[in-house]
């Protein structure tokens, strides 16, 4: 496949101020600079496909749509790889921006999937958990999942990605294109809202959903 690395990529000074993400992807940028665009993309896809898919899943909520969006985002990245400039930002930041834009376009086209606490199934699940029962672990997780789904988008995305990315706030911030402090705020508010909703459902005691 013809994809020539632009000559600008040859000058890639990554000084001590370069971000952790830029340092992590330096090998890929060097491959691009050496003209090995296909090898660079293969490495990029191997490293970021799971994260891109998780970001898509968090934004779109449906595995099938998420996979389609992730594939499409990576293809777009492949097409645009020759135009990437390290000076603009880390490769992962660039890839996440492509992915977010793709997801937002899909959401605009087909509308967001919303979850509501008024959903009868959620209420029934909560009632079931509030009743004494020894084997409720999986149900508790499913209910928590649904309560997270019903949070406002910013909080839901931050919380979901925080646990998907094994509590790495910096990575979540990069994926969402937000400052870390903003992500922490969304996480804090999301957890507060979640505690409130658990209390509303009569599930304030962790023993009921743990």
């Amino acid at each position: 496949m013809p994809l020539d690395a632009p000559p600008q990529l040859m000058n890639l000074p990554l000084n001590s101020d370069a971000s952790e993400a830029a340092r992590r992807d330096r090998d890929i940028v060097e491959l691009m600079a050496a003209g090995a665009a296909e090898a660079a993309f293969e490495r990029l896809a191997a490293r970021y496909s799971p994260k891109v898919y998780r970001l898509c899943l968090a934004m779109l909520r449906e595995p099938a749509r998420a996979e389609e969006a992730a594939q499409d985002s990576l293809l777009r990245a492949w097409r645009a790889l020759a135009g990437y400039r390290p000076a603009v930002g880390a490769l992962s930041t660039w890839l996440y921006a492509i992915t977010r834009n793709r997801c937002l376009t899909l959401i605009e086209r087909s509308g967001p999937i919303t979850a509501s606490l008024a959903d009868e199934a959620v209420q029934a699940e909560a009632d079931e958990l509030a009743a004494p029962d020894e084997s409720r672990g999986a149900d508790g997780h499913a209910l928590l999942h649904r309560l997270v789904d019903a949070l406002p988008d910013a909080q839901r995305l931050a919380l979901t990605l925080y646990y998907y990315e094994e509590r790495a706030v910096a990575e979540v911030a990069a994926m969402l294109g937000l400052p870390e402090a903003t992500v922490k705020t969304h996480l804090h508010r999301g957890r507060q809202a979640l505690r409130g909703r658990l209390a509303e459902q009569g599930l304030a005691d962790p023993a009921l959903w743990l």
Binding site: M1, L75, H141
Partner: protein, 143 residues
């Protein structure tokens, strides 16, 4: 997205039970099986599509150039035929009426007329070429 407040800082420690439950409720999802294979296939399909598009574009360009050449060739043949016919008629007319008239009025015979005609025709063709090259009449008309 909401702005950040200084006292609004996330810390999972105060509620480890909820944190633990959330980490179990939201495990990192694995990539769907065959994700990379499908991506490779999509890339290959796109490359094939690109090649097919390039080939189609080249073929279209080739066909349009061929058609332009064909049009030029037909025009050239038509113009050549017209020129030959015009020259033949002109030569016939000169021999039929011009030569006897010149011989009768100016006393010019055929042996001196042929070089004279060649000179006139040569000058006319040369003037035509230079006029066409410099666009001389068009330049005069524009003024």
């Amino acid at each position: 997205m909401n702005p950040t407040r200084a006292d609004d800082v996330f810390d999972p420690r105060p509620d480890p039970a909820l944190d633990d439950a959330l980490s179990r409720a939201l495990p990192p999802p694995a990539l769907p099986a065959g994700f990379h294979a499908r991506l490779q296939a999509a890339m290959a399909a796109e490359a094939a599509h690109d090649l097919a598009r390039q080939r189609r574009e080249l073929e279209e360009e080739h066909a349009s150039r061929l058609a332009a050449l064909e049009r030029g060739y037909v025009r050239l043949k038509r113009d050549t035929l017209a020129t030959v016919l015009a020259a033949a008629f002109t030569a016939g007319a000169v021999m039929q009426w011009g030569v006897p008239w010149l011989h009768a009025t100016l006393g010019i015979d055929l042996s001196s007329l042929v070089p004279l005609l060649a000179l006139v025709i040569g000058l006319a063709v040369g003037a035509g070429v230079w006029v066409e090259r410099f666009g001389f009449p068009r330049a005069l008309l524009r003024r």
